[in-house]
């Protein structure tokens, strides 16, 4: 018999499956009408959904608000662009990003985890700001222009390969990639390690009394979030062919937080739905007026006040009821 937390995680899985089916239909229609623009936009939505996923691991499970997740997203994007410009290998880019994210995440986590609560938010913000400014000032990294001319590559699986230039192919690949990241995060958060994180969020002082360290799980969660953000970021130059310092700016981190809050904090799948919703909003509202930030800002304020659990706060309990059993309040 699964407990309440496992049941809500299963509800998230169901909602993810719904998202995947919808995305497949979207891809099929896109392929049928030979669309490029919307498929590319959808791919970007998924990539930023991956960034939001990393914010949710910290905010929703560990109770830490990161205002600097763009640091790792940008790290992945820049590193992937640099590697691809030297050797056009997907696996080399991903391997390098993974290694760098673990190292930088460990350093960043060591610094940020010395403090709690609001100071954690500010220190992550400060770190991202420093890195953003350094990249912005470094000529070798393209300074304010960023890196342009990232080549189109083929993602090789041995038996088959997908070109990043193919809109539908790369969309499907990104979908699979992000779903794998989701599954990885969901698996880890449903293990005893994940329960420990939830316990930390609920009451940090009591956790040591149960015989657990509070330092290691917190640092581990931070590194996992860094890796997920960086791997999502590594897809960005493959999609767009360039990276710019804007990817490291506060607006990127801030957007990820907005995405998670609107989608639903602590649900994981909310980050993906939020990413899609925000991208749709930006392009739909953006086609009428340049002032789409007003709409997104108001929606965000509304979510913070009236829907603290976001859209998934409405959708997930319903799914849990279908799955049977009582709903976690």
């Amino acid at each position: 018999m699964a407990d309440a937390l496992t049941r809500s995680m299963r509800a998230s899985h169901v909602l993810t499956a719904v998202l995947v089916v919808a995305a497949l239909i979207f891809a099929a229609i896109g392929a049928a009408i030979d669309d490029t623009f919307y498929l590319r936009l959808g791919t970007e939505a998924l990539i930023f959904g991956g960034l939001a996923l990393s914010v949710d691991i910290l905010l929703g499970y560990t109770g830490l608000l990161s205002l600097g997740q763009a640091l790792y997203f940008g790290l992945g994007a820049y590193l992937s662009a640099l590697v691809l410009m030297m050797t056009p290998s997907f696996w080399a880019a991903m391997g390098a990003t993974l290694m760098a994210a673990i190292v930088v995440g460990a350093i960043g986590g060591f610094i940020a985890n010395r403090v709690r609560g609001v100071y954690f938010a500010l220190i992550t913000f400060g770190m991202a700001q420093i890195v953003a400014k350094v990249v912005y000032n470094t000529r070798a990294l393209g300074a304010s222009d960023g890196l342009i001319g990232v080549p189109v590559i083929n993602v090789n699986f041995g038996i088959a390969s997908i070109s990043t230039a193919s809109p539908v192919g790369f969309f499907l690949f990104t979908l699979a990639f992000i779903v794998v990241l989701y599954a990885l995060a969901a698996y880890l958060l449903d293990t005893p390690f994940g329960r420990l994180l939830i316990a930390l969020k609920a009451n940090e002082r009591r956790v040591p009394f149960l015989g657990y360290s509070t330092v290691t799980p917190r640092l581990t969660a931070y590194i996992i979030a860094a890796v997920i953000a960086a791997l999502s970021g590594a897809l960005y130059p493959m999609l767009r062919g360039f990276v710019s310092p804007e990817l490291l700016f506060f607006s990127t981190s801030g957007n990820a937080v907005i995405t998670v809050v609107i989608g639903g904090v602590g649900t994981l799948v909310g980050a993906l739905y939020g990413g899609i919703l925000l991208t749709v909003l930006k392009s739909v509202v953006g086609s009428y007026t340049e002032q789409h930030l007003i709409v997104i800002g108001l929606l965000f304020i509304g979510a913070v006040i009236f829907l603290p659990r976001g859209l998934m706060g409405i959708a997930r309990p319903t799914v849990e009821r279908w799955l049977g059993g009582k709903v976690v309040p």
Binding site: L65, Y119, I123, G126, N137, I294
Partner: protein
């Protein structure tokens, strides 16, 4: 012989100070006073309400835009210095009662209020763009002319800003530390339940303090508009520095804001003599991160706790 060499070295040092260091320090001082004015409201709001006001930069911009609009219908600058903060008071009061109080009592107050004010800032910034357009406006300088200070060409208005800023900071400190009202505010910050049971109208003190902090930001907007121009994202650039000042000084500490404000802007000004000024931001944020690591409460304690 030795005396002569010593003398010429002293002269060189003096000249270096007069022509290189002092001008840069004066420029830093103007920025320092400007940052202190913005950071003062930020630190008061945090010290009392425990709220990180992410929209503070936009309130600073709001003050500047109101001044811009009122100046265009012919109101004199000196009247605006009084009028704009007064107009900001009800705005701040309503925002506190209408928005912040709605999430103030949730379990994760820090996070929810931070997110709420972040959203508010986004909306305000875009509203400015809608109302005034994205391009910068430069109001006329209220005091023309310049004087020579240490052989430095210093516009009179900047001199006025330094003096006026010092007066404002002194007045705020006087109100907070030497009046009955200030005592009520500090009492509410120290222990809200105890203050409430002693008859302090805590709800009004909270809303009032938020309004006061926001009005200070608006006043800074009016004062700084002639120097830094008025544009929708003006708050965003400025608030980062103000945040660094508030953190280094100690969130909620008025003395901390003054010391850290002067210190950080001097570091910025003097370091830009030796390395490219584009690196001053990473240096300031580096100091902020190191401070958060080794002493998260900052140089000074917080309001009501010192």
């Amino acid at each position: 012989m030795l005396g002569r060499a010593w003398g010429s070295m002293m002269t060189a040092a003096l000249e270096y100070f007069q022509f290189v260091l002092a001008p840069q320090m004066l420029v830093g001082l103007v920025l320092g006073v400007a940052v202190i004015l913005v950071a003062l409201g930020l630190t008061i709001i945090f010290g009392l309400l425990d709220v990180i006001n992410m929209s503070h930069g936009e309130f600073y911009a709001l003050g500047a835009f109101i001044a811009l609009a009122l100046a265009s219908i012919g109101l004199p600058f000196w009247l605006l210095l009084l009028l704009v903060p007064l107009m900001m008071l009800p705005v701040g009061y309503i925002v506190e009662r209408g928005l912040i109080q709605r999430v103030f009592h949730s379990g994760e107050r820090h996070v929810t209020t931070l997110l709420l004010t972040f959203g508010l800032g986004l909306v305000m910034e875009d509203a400015f763009r809608l109302a005034f357009g994205p391009n910068p406006h430069k109001p006329a300088t209220p005091i023309a002319g310049a004087i020579d200070v240490f052989g430095v060409f210093l516009p009179l208005y900047r001199l006025f800003l330094i003096a006026g800023g010092a007066v404002i900071v002194a007045l705020v400190a006087l109100v907070v530390y030497r009046t009955r009202l200030g005592a009520m505010v500090r009492a509410a910050a120290f222990d809200r339940h105890m203050a409430a049971s002693l008859g302090v109208p805590v709800q009004h003190v909270y809303a009032g303090a938020f309004a006061f902090g926001v009005a200070l930001a608006g006043l800074a907007g009016v004062l700084l508009a002639p120097i830094y121009s008025v544009f929708p994202t003006m708050g965003r650039d400025f608030i980062l520095m103000a945040f660094a000042v508030v953190i280094v000084g100690g969130m909620g500490s008025i003395a901390g804001v003054i010391v850290a404000g002067l210190l950080l802007t001097q570091v910025q000004a003097i370091s830009s003599l030796y390395i490219s000024p584009v690196w001053s931001d990473p240096i300031v944020f580096g100091i902020m991160v190191i401070m958060l690591m080794v002493r998260p409460q900052g140089l000074f304690g917080r309001l009501g706790h010192g």
